[in-house]
């Protein structure tokens, strides 16, 4: 048993935990961070896009030393049916800037690096240690943790729960509910290795330029879901995720979807001849604003995915994790500097600060999107992609049919599939939720 007492214990060394531990250690606090993986990152899965601004706030010079893959100069959105895709591509030379805004990263490598910064700042980082339980006193105040390493408890003034989407400890201690099938998505992904030049040729890139493709449509078989293809230096990370409730309802298999996505005629040439080196799966919080649980209590705060802080519409999670971890740590630092206790009342300042940040503001903006997507998944992920693909084909195929007739046929196919009131309703619902 560790007899010492810590200012703070951080559970988890993912994005949120590392941000919190680093911020507190930099303030000179006595921090213990516990991670169940062999090394930080060995349990973590992401696409992965890193958003530079949030990283810069933590480690200003990270571009010089962090393991970054490619800076993104192009974003492609694909709406797919079984044989085609309709795409919108945005590529700009502006993104070839001195301090690029977005990078692809490989999480296992990135987390390991970020953890080295946490150690440098003075925190104690113990890996291969699973926290099994939160320790509570008679008044239900969290006073520390129990691990599978040693008997007894390790004590701290405050415990930062950065335990990721599964959030087992918080659930077990009754601090929040377990994720439900309709507020988490299951994503499966593979790492496809190819020579650097091949990747650059296939994706039209030079040097360290990068591109990401986000895809939706019939690839998710009517379930709420998305596919993604991200170019790294020497590998392509490719995957697909759908709502767990939809998997449960349809009986589709995640690996079945992944295989179909890989075989799609728009995708197959991009990964042809690659060597697969890993198959991973992970949950993603999808419930949005309405599923955010209680964020603080007597002696504890929760940050990152464990608090469902994930913007599914923009596919942002790591930045919300980094920012919530940092803000929680700043709140704790503030209380500590005032000599204030880590009571629920005092820790409520964390929520106030988070409410003021983009984290909660963005999630609030899209608060109605998740329910809309989840209840209308057939229309948004199956019917519309098929209709749009047909309409596009009708538009570009030159076959002697007069254009007026072509347009009429396209319109008719939309009305037939969704009816006028359905179309107007969908547009209205979508616009309202997006507002």
């Amino acid at each position: 048993m560790i007899e010492e007492r810590f200012d703070a214990i951080v559970v988890g060394a993912g994005m949120a935990g590392n941000a919190a531990a680093l911020t507190m250690a930099k303030r000179g606090m006595k921090v213990l961070q516990l991670e169940r993986g062999e090394y930080p990152g060995s349990k973590n899965v992401q696409g992965a896009i890193l958003y530079a601004d949030m990283m810069e706030e933590l480690v200003p010079g990270f571009r010089e030393e962090a393991p970054l893959e490619r800076h993104l100069i192009e974003q492609r959105f694909w709406m797919m049916d079984d044989r085609s895709h309709v795409g919108m591509h945005y590529r700009s030379e502006d993104f070839n800037e001195e301090r690029p805004n977005r990078y692809t990263i490989i999480r296992a490598q990135f987390d390991k690096w970020l953890s080295s910064k946490v150690r440098e700042a003075g925190a104690i980082v113990l890996c291969e240690t699973t926290v099994t339980e939160l320790a509570q006193d008679d008044n239900k105040r969290i006073i520390g943790v129990r691990t599978d390493r040693r008997d007894g408890q390790i004590h701290a003034d405050v415990v930062v729960l950065a335990e990721g989407v599964n959030g087992l400890l918080g659930t077990r201690a009754g601090l929040r509910a377990r994720p439900t099938p309709d507020n988490v998505a299951l994503a499966v992904k593979e790492m496809h290795f190819l020579p650097r030049e091949t990747i650059e040729a296939r994706f039209n890139l030079q040097g360290d330029e990068g591109v990401v493709i986000e895809a939706a449509g019939t690839i998710s078989r009517g379930m709420t879901g998305m596919g993604f293809i991200y170019a790294n230096k020497e590998c392509i990370s490719l995957g697909i995720g759908c709502l767990v409730a939809d998997f449960q309802r349809t009986g589709q298999t995640p690996y079945g979807l992944l295989e179909q996505f890989k075989r799609h005629p728009s995708v197959a040439p991009l990964i042809a001849g690659s060597e697969v080196k890993e198959y991973a799966a992970h949950l993603i919080p999808e419930g949005g604003y309405k599923s955010i649980p209680q964020l603080y209590g007597e002696g504890w705060v929760v940050v990152g995915d464990a608090a469902q802080l994930n913007n599914a519409i923009h596919r942002e999670g790591s930045n919300l994790a980094l920012t919530s971890g940092r803000i929680a740590a700043e709140a704790i630092g503030l209380l500590k500097s005032r000599g204030a206790s880590m009571s629920a009342t005092n820790l409520s300042i964390y929520k106030k600060m988070l409410d003021e940040s983009f984290v909660i503001k963005d999630l609030k903006k899209y608060k109605d999107m998740p329910p809309l997507m989840h209840t209308h998944s057939q229309n948004f992920f199956l019917t519309y992609p098929q209709l749009i693909s047909k309409a596009m084909q009708n538009f570009v195929r030159v076959d002697g049919t007069p254009k007026v007739e072509k347009e009429r046929a396209s319109l008719k196919s939309f009305v037939k599939a969704r009816s006028w009131s359905g179309l107007v309703g969908d547009a209205w619902r979508f616009a309202r939720a997006w507002r």
């Binding site: 890996c127 699973t130 179909q260 890993e278 949950l283």
Partner: protein
Amino acid sequence: MSCDTPVRVEDKLYYNRYLVDVGYPHVKVRPHTTPSPQLLALLKVCPARCYELNDNGQVEIAVDGCIECGTCRVIAEPTGDIQWSHPRGGYGVLFKFG
């Protein structure tokens, strides 16, 4: 494209690194005679295909290939059909890339 092209999940898991905690499975299925709908769903939804039907029609788990996503917990822990924990520190899947 057909939905039922067979996919060999074992081949996929073969790419991964694991440190198996022999004798300490982190996920357990509650003994049953007839599986609940939730348990049956796991046969398909588990991305590592850890759940199998035995000859008596009961759902069994072999955790060695588990990639620790937590999907089975979300579906079948509320009904008490399974018990789900993290593996002991250091054990389980070890992602090289993630």
